[in-house]
Amino acid sequence: MTIPRMISGTAWNLGDHVNTDILHPPAYFSLDEGRVKDGLREGMERLKAGVQGGDSTDGLVIVAGENFGCGSSRETSVRSLRICGVRAVIAHSFARIFYRSLANLGIPPLECNAIQACVQNGDPLLISLTDGFIELGDTRRFPFSPLDPHIERILECGGLIPYLRREQDGV
């Protein structure tokens, strides 16, 4: 399953240094998807940053500041994003393990400095992976830093496991 080149979603705006323990509290480590999903809801609560109204967990794009996802390597924090329909994460910068895990699970990690200050929770966002921009509400466009070709390749495959399959097949 490859990642679509155009991604749309509703913005969920977070701050700087959002760590994995607050985003997805450790007590919610589980193999049960429902429990993992509850962990992100709890994280939203603690960050006081949940998207208001309706089912807030469909088609989300996280927009964050510096060092997003610092702390633990517990992959449940990233899996919770996938389960809850987070389609991309935009941040000024990412903590390295979280960055790798996002790409590994097929969620594009995009670096962009300018957009966060302009985004409100619930704003519609449209991302073009091909053309390298994020569109905020049909009017404003923000470029993101080009992805490293290795990360681009993993995302094209749909994550590290399909990448591994292709590598093993010698494709």
Partner: protein
């Protein structure tokens, strides 16, 4: 550009494949613990892949050790049955925290590339290797291929000079570094330490490398010296040498110098390991619990220092002092040397070697509004319990002194 020794180690492990800035890199050893393993088992089974080298894996059950719920019991059962089925020889159940067991065994040494499914895998860098943490899916890739993809990091040279005062520990050095740059201040970088006067004991080096990740670093590494070689000789019963004719010449983009002799005990305030002040500024902060343990602060030297403070004293009324040796081996030595006796007589409670309170896994979870001083590595909001609880980080010396006084206490107040 300066990629330091870390860059050279990665280059020497690169197999020639390159994508963008990433090099495909041969891995010498893999660390995996129970929850991280549980997350990758379904994918591994679906891939029907075999493990590249079963002798190069350490699998520990240290998080759910022993399990405190039915789900965790089933996770441990699944992990152990995987280990048995795959005949993973280095499988350690309830023997201690993975990062301590990794450096206690005869597996890792200078010049190696080590990856682990836990952010604190950086600990092993104290032995002069590149050791870094990753998520479960990354580790699954390594288990199947024996490789990983790494970017040679920009390296920061950290010169540690002068003698260490008796009230300063590795933890204080780590907090000093973090306080200077803030969370993420070393993002993606390698921190390479030169203990120029040969004064930092190996246990303190482990604590320092353990915490480099709180600054966002990819890895921390102590340049091998007499302290490294003597630790390895004692551990492995044989001399080790650097695996290639390493000249000691490494290049750096930036350099930091820390004068150890002027350091004072440090304290990280809630809710960040980089929000650092002098421990004496914490005077008057009441705490209900002190935790001495974890992959940062539960080693033999940590228990020694804590026991020295606690010997012949009692913890403050109402104080809950929890102590977790980082491994069974440390536990036994601490018994032999009388540390455990001193801690228990002072009113401390000994927990079995495991991660426990540090990640709010079990035993010692904090209630609403409670305050804890911990020798662990993270004090993020809610990590150790209720979201309104508050955690302060400090050295085992500061922790023991604070347990006696019932409030944050600079250990110089109780050391004679």
């Amino acid at each position: 550009m300066g990629n330091g020794l870390s860059g050279e180690i990665i280059q020497r492990h690169a197999d020639g494949e390159r994508e963008g800035g990433f090099l495909r890199t041969e891995v010498d050893f893999v660390l995996l613990h129970d929850p991280a393993c549980a997350l990758l088992l379904a994918d591994l089974r679906e891939l029907k892949a075999t493990i590249w080298d079963k002798a190069k894996i350490l699998l520990t059950v240290d998080h759910f050790a022993p399990p405190s719920s039915v789900e965790r019991a089933n996770i441990v059962k699944d992990v152990l049955s995987f280990a048995e089925h795959e005949e993973i020889a280095n499988c350690k159940t309830y023997e201690g925290i993975c990062h301590q067991l990794l450096v206690e065994g005869p597996w890792v040494g200078p010049g190696m590339v080590v990856v682990g499914a836990d952010s604190h895998t950086t600990t092993a860098g104290a032995l002069g290797c590149v050791a870094t943490g990753m998520g479960s899916t990354d580790i699954l890739y390594t288990l199947v291929t024996g490789r990983t993809w790494l970017r040679p990091p920009e390296a920061v040279r950290v010169d540690l000079i002068g003698d260490v005062p008796p009230y300063v520990m590795g933890k204080d050095i780590a907090l000093e570094l973090l306080g200077g740059v803030g969370e993420g201040g070393f993002l993606n970088k390698a921190l390479e330490f030169y203990d120029l006067d040969g004064v930092i004991p190996i246990d303190d080096r482990f604590a320092i490398c353990n915490m480099v990740v709180e600054g966002g670093a990819k890895n921390g590494l102590f340049h091998p010296d007499e302290i490294t070689w003597s630790y390895l000789k004692e551990r492995d019963g044989k001399g080790r040498v650097f695996p290639w004719s390493f000249t000691g010449e490494a290049h750096y983009g930036e350099a930091i110098e820390i004068d150890l002799s002027s350091l004072t005990p440090k304290l990280a305030l809630p809710h960040s390991p980089a929000l650092v002040v002098d421990a004496k500024e914490g005077k008057g902060i009441k705490i209900q619990q002190v935790f001495i343990g974890s992959c940062t602060g539960g080693r033999l030297r940590d228990l020694d220092k804590a026991a020295r403070v606690l010997k012949g004293k009692k913890v403050a009324p109402g104080m809950r002092l929890l102590v977790t040796p980082a491994s069974q081996r440390i536990y036994q030595k601490a018994i032999e040397r009388g540390y455990i006796q001193a801690i228990v007589e002072a009113g401390g409670v000994i927990l079995n070697p495991s991660c426990g309170p540090c990640g709010g896994i079990d035993k010692g979870i904090l209630g609403a509004g409670e305050q804890c001083l911990s020798t662990s590595n993270r004090n993020f909001q809610g990590r150790m319990g209720d979201p309104s609880s508050r955690v302060y980080l400090a050295s085992p010396l500061t922790a023991a002194a604070s347990a006696v006084k019932g409030e944050v206490t600079d250990p110089r107040e109780v050391l004679t």
